[in-house]
Symmetry: C2
Subunit: 228 residues, 2 copies
DNA sequence: CACTGTATGCTTACGCCGTAAACTACCCAC
DNA sequence: GTGGGTAGTTTACGGCGTAAGCATACAGTG
């Protein structure tokens, strides 16, 4: 017969890798373990995947692709288009927290990443941004998605925080860290907070588009210069 | 005599680790190599450092500390205080790009990280933010520093980008990625772009403080709802 | 002085990792 | 059948973090 039902293939390896990491975390992904998961020796995988690095890159691309495979119609407002991408990426990353470590740490640019960057850039260009501002805007939006979301996904849960943070929760270090102690127990929903950030970014971009001087505050003081 | 001039110590190990990584990158840091760098066997290090993980955590703390050890006077405007921290962290991270991978990926909260969070939080509280908004604000500022800066520090240089990106620069894929092709060659300075982002964030925070509805755009449409 | 406890560094070893190289078993076209 | 490609295995190398035990050298006490 044609290849037995359980023959290896690039796709089966990739899917198994995603499943393994979903189930047991990034650090559980080794070629040996991935092999046994597929009922096969580690070295067999190399018939289908050039290296572990390439496998990781493929996993990244699969994830990034999921952010844009239902991109909103180009007829929409640029704000709606950006917002949709940002929220979709955010949800996908929070569902697979391990993806954060993969996507943010590997600077490799695959096809999906290019399509993703293209979607953001054209939304900005269609929205009337100059190429210069669209360029910055891509970095701002990308940085927000990757960075802010990453911070949320990695935010240590109370359990992993250790004694010091527990003490903070209990109000023990209130004299040493009064600010944190006052705010640490505030209600806090990742999606709601991200919505805040998305709005902040989009409104900021709108401000930039309208030609407000970029690095000057309303008061006229330049924080850049004030610092450096 | 008292310990010979070149005796090991926690501090000497830590400094050597920082120096090694500065010189040869994060992936060059192994206990064996760190040992030879200090003229000592790998296992000797364990007399002074409990584990490699703890060593990495200490390195993170040393870096974060550098962001705040010249914190601006609390007499200053909250905007100036946040701006100063954000720019200082940014410069420090761009100077040691490897620190990005350490600081962002390890959710461990050391002393310096607490002081850093405290500095941001009190700046916001002193600026009249409610505890609830200060809490969100800390996450927004922290996420921007860690996230946006991280994206910049990791932005692949043209050399590491591979053929596809080179083709983009050459305008080859202009039909497939018209937006990117139009904007990819825009001038682009990390510090200037970050200043844009810092201003965007600070102005956004000011807007929040003034009670503008958080997740609603000027047009009144909710992007969150529009998406989810 | 000898004696002993402690601190420091070294040696060896274990079980992981990614993967290069050579080998076997099979299946299909001629 | 038989030669060639394909899929999976075996073995091995050099690396990793670190547990366990050993050697040395010094400090304090009698």
């Amino acid at each position: 017969m044609t290849p037995p039902r359980d023959a290896l293939s690039y796709d089966r390896v990739l899917q198994a890798a995603l499943a393994l990491v979903d189930a047991h975390g990034l650090e559980a992904l080794s070629m040996r373990r991935l092999g046994t998961e597929l009922g096969v020796e580690a070295m067999s995988l190399y018939r289908h995947v050039p290296s572990k690095d390439a496998l990781l890159d493929a996993m990244v691309d699969a994830i990034v692709q999921s952010w844009i495979d239902e991109t909103p119609s180009t007829a929409d407002d640029w704000r709606a288009r950006l917002s949709a991408i940002m929220h979709r990426a955010h949800r996908a990353l929070l569902e697979r927290p391990w993806a954060v470590d993969l996507v943010t740490v590997r600077p490799r640019v695959g096809d999906a990443r290019l399509r993703y960057a293209e979607a953001i850039t054209t939304a900005l260009l269609d929205g009337g941004f100059t190429p210069q501002l669209a360029h910055h805007g891509l970095h701002i939006v990308d940085g927000t998605i990757m960075g802010f979301t990453a911070q949320q996904a990695r935010r240590p849960n109370a359990a992993a925080l250790g004694d010091r943070a527990q003490a903070l929760y209990d109000g023990a270090l209130a004299d040493q860290y009064p600010g944190i102690s006052r705010t640490i127990r505030e209600h806090h929903d990742h999606h709601e907070e991200y919505a805040l950030m998305v709005d902040l970014v989009i409104e900021g971009l709108a401000r930039l588009r309208e030609g407000r001087p970029p690095h000057r505050s309303r008061s006229g003081a330049s924080y850049v210069l004030a610092f450096s």
